[in-house]
């Protein structure tokens, strides 16, 4: 069977599974819609959290990015896993004991203030929409490459599927589809990784293959990769090329940001007990770690494979995948020395980095671009995303493995999109409507509102997918930076300090938010030409500035709360209560 048919079969089968689960798990109360009734088993919640957390970026882009960053790619590996330690120890058990529906719920009640609640709602919606745009783009790319439908049609199909299970099933539907999606995505990630690991190193465990010798050669994989890269003029794969302080801050911002992401936090509201919330964070990280320890292995395998297959190969004898991806626009070749052979070297091949294709073809049949060529010897532009997507093709794996990767990438994108949509809709129907603007509505009306806002949010997300705002890639730093600078400190102080009051929390959140936002906006939008280490504050890039924002938040909060009145006695009792798992009265 050809790849196309196989992909259709696997994708349709996985989608039917998701819809079947949605029908089986329809939500009928607000409790079920927001937090799945609080009855989710900790292992199931761990899987759902893992699928919720691992997005199109983790599945499609991360290994590719690391593949080109080498050692410095560890900021993503540590940054996107270390946050779970913070979640497990500083947030999850206490928020579970608090036992309400949303993140702004906690901030609103703990700081006895609807302003605090609204600031939290604002941060939450901003963070979540930033994130969703990327997921929808991922769905579109996968559809267009593997199923050869138009990107827009792909986005609309994806919206339809999410619509069915998010609007119908709420958190309950999302949770159980996420469990299924985790299984699909991890299987789809591991199978090609295992195959490639065996091909290159003979070791079926990619994590070990990463540190093994290459089949038939007496040299370790990483050593060979270092040699090959330095011969071509690149940095060695295992060497770092960024400033330590920047690496430190980016890692910290991603960790703290992860722990402050509302769609992740809210998953811990869905388990029955405090001890389940703790265990669930552990399961989640275990399930995530399976992919995250495989990713760097895949990165090194695919970089080596890529160089082997492409460098010094005549364009006309490149494998089929090379020209397929060129047709989609993710690869481009500029034959600078006109020898018909592809040279892969450091630096960007084209001015303005991304190729702008013309409709013409060159002497060897390659697509021509209108970009100026750079003066270096590199002739090839590669979009990092294809390292995972094309990996099975590069390694010449069977067709069903390629089809599986498509289904896995879709599962990763859809599960994250659904989780984000749910927190957006519950922030609107619960925090904005029920708790702030229309406190008199009944539970039934609130549930209807939740469904309507989920539907609208899907529509908006779809528009982002079809007309991707040019700034999407630029604002990912925003999502983590803002979560680190606003939500995380407010929750932590709400639990660990009895003295923190509403004035402190609100001024802190706003200060952290404004500082971080201004820094990122300045370097990414106002003066992008200044965006280099010489101009950065203490040498910290916009990606890592969230940590400083967090410190600003903590400092402002502590100063302002110490100057103003202590919180009322009920709030102190609330804090006492969430610190103990059980009633503690017997």
């Amino acid at each position: 069977m050809d790849i196309q048919t196989l992909t259709y079969i696997i994708v349709v089968a996985s989608f039917s599974l998701y819809i079947g689960i949605a029908i089986w798990s329809k939500a009928s109360t607000t409790g079920e819609f927001y937090i799945a009734g609080g009855h989710v088993h900790p292992v199931a919640n761990g899987m759902a959290t893992a699928a919720d957390w691992m997005s199109a970026a983790s599945f499609i882009s991360m290994a590719g990015i690391i593949s080109f960053m080498g050692r410095d790619g560890s900021v993503y590996l540590m940054g996107w896993t270390g946050g779970y330690v913070l979640l497990a120890m500083l947030l999850a058990p206490y928020l579970r004991k608090f036992g309400k529906f949303t993140v702004p719920d906690f901030i609103g009640d703990r700081y006895y203030s609807s302003i605090a609640r609204l600031v939290a709602v604002f941060c939450l919606i901003f963070i979540s929409f930033t994130y969703i745009a990327g997921q929808m783009r991922g769905v579109g790319i996968v559809f267009s490459r593997f199923l050869e439908v138009d990107i827009n049609t792909g986005v609309i199909i994806g919206m339809g599927i999410v619509f069915i299970y998010a609007v119908l099933g709420g958190m309950k539907g999302i949770t159980y589809t996420q469990v299924a999606q985790y299984c699909v995505l991890i299987f789809a990630y591991m199978v090609p990784a295992i195959f490639i690991s065996i091909l290159i190193t003979g070791n079926p465990v990619p994590q070990l293959g990463f540190g093994s010798q290459i089949v038939g050669e007496n040299i370790y994989l990483l050593e060979k990769l270092n040699n090959v890269l330095t011969d071509l003029g690149f940095n060695a794969y295992t060497d770092s090329s960024r400033a330590k302080i920047d690496i430190f801050c980016i890692t910290a911002a991603l960790m703290v940001g992860t722990a402050g992401l509302p769609h992740v936090i809210v998953r811990f509201f869905t388990v029955p007990k405090v001890r389940d919330a703790r265990a669930s964070a552990g399961w989640a990280l275990l399930f995530i770690a399976i992919l995250y320890t495989t990713a760097p292995a895949v990165s090194s395998f695919s970089r080596l494979n890529f160089i082997d297959t492409v460098n010094e190969t005549p364009y006309q004898s490149t494998p089929e995948w090379f020209r397929n991806w060129e047709d989609i626009g993710l690869i481009s070749w500029a034959d600078k020395n006109q020898d018909g052979i592809i040279q892969y070297r450091p630096g960007n091949a084209l001015e303005k980095v991304k190729p702008r294709f013309t409709s013409e073809r060159g002497a060897n049949g390659e697509r021509l671009v209108s970009n100026e060529r750079t003066s270096n010897e590199n002739e090839i532009y590669i979009d990092r995303d294809i390292m995972v997507l094309a990996n099975p093709e590069i390694a010449q794996l069977p067709n069903w493995v390629i089809a599986l990767v498509a289904a896995g990438a879709l599962a990763a994108a859809l599960s994250t999109a659904a989780g984000l949509l749910l927190v957006i809709s519950s922030a609107i129907s619960h925090d904005l409507m029920k708790k702030t603007l229309m406190p008199s509505i009944s539970e039934k009306q609130e549930l209807a509102l939740a469904r309507i806002s989920a539907a609208i949010a899907i529509g908006v997300a779809g528009v982002f997918g079809i007309y991707p705002p040019a700034f999407v890639a630029q604002v990912v730093a925003f999502a983590f930076g803002l979560a680190a600078a606003s939500i995380f400190p407010a929750i932590v102080m709400g639990i660990f300090s009895k003295r923190m009051n509403s004035v402190g929390a609100i001024t802190g959140m706003i200060a952290g938010l404004v500082f971080t936002a201004c820094y990122i906006i300045f370097f990414k939008f106002v003066s992008p030409e200044l965006n280099n280490p010489d101009n950065w504050f203490l040498g910290i890039s916009p990606e890592g500035i969230g940590v400083i924002g967090m410190i600003v938040n903590f400092s402002v909060s502590i100063i302002f709360s110490s100057l103003t009145k202590a919180p009322p006695i009920e709030v102190v009792e609330l804090v006492d209560n969430i610190r103990l798992p059980g009633g503690g009265n017997d």
């Binding site: 590996l77 540590m78 330690v85 913070l86 990463f210």
Partner: protein, 86 residues
């Protein structure tokens, strides 16, 4: 009064557990994976330079164990102070 004292002691022990585990968390990721990473590179296990291994694999594996240890210690503490949920 005793109950109040007990509660305070429980919270203090909770903070001690969290504090010590987070210290390890910091040492393996920011310490071994970033700050002292290059110094550790002189040691090699299999094909890995040690600092590189901490940065790309080791820290993640240790994070998982840290949460497992946290669950174990906290469950024991809950039992000792009789603050488990019914």
């Amino acid at each position: 009064m005793d109950k109040e004292k007990n509660k305070n002691l429980y919270w203090k022990l909770n903070l001690t557990i969290v504090g010590s585990l987070l210290a390890i968390w910091f040492m393996v990721s920011f310490g071994a994976g970033i700050l002292f990473s290059e110094n550790l590179d002189q040691f090699e296990i299999a094909g890995f330079k040690l600092g590189f291994w901490f940065a790309q694999q080791g820290s993640i594996i240790i994070f998982v164990f840290l949460i497992a240890l946290y669950c174990f210690l906290m469950n024991k503490l809950d039992k000792r102070f009789n603050v488990e949920e019914e």
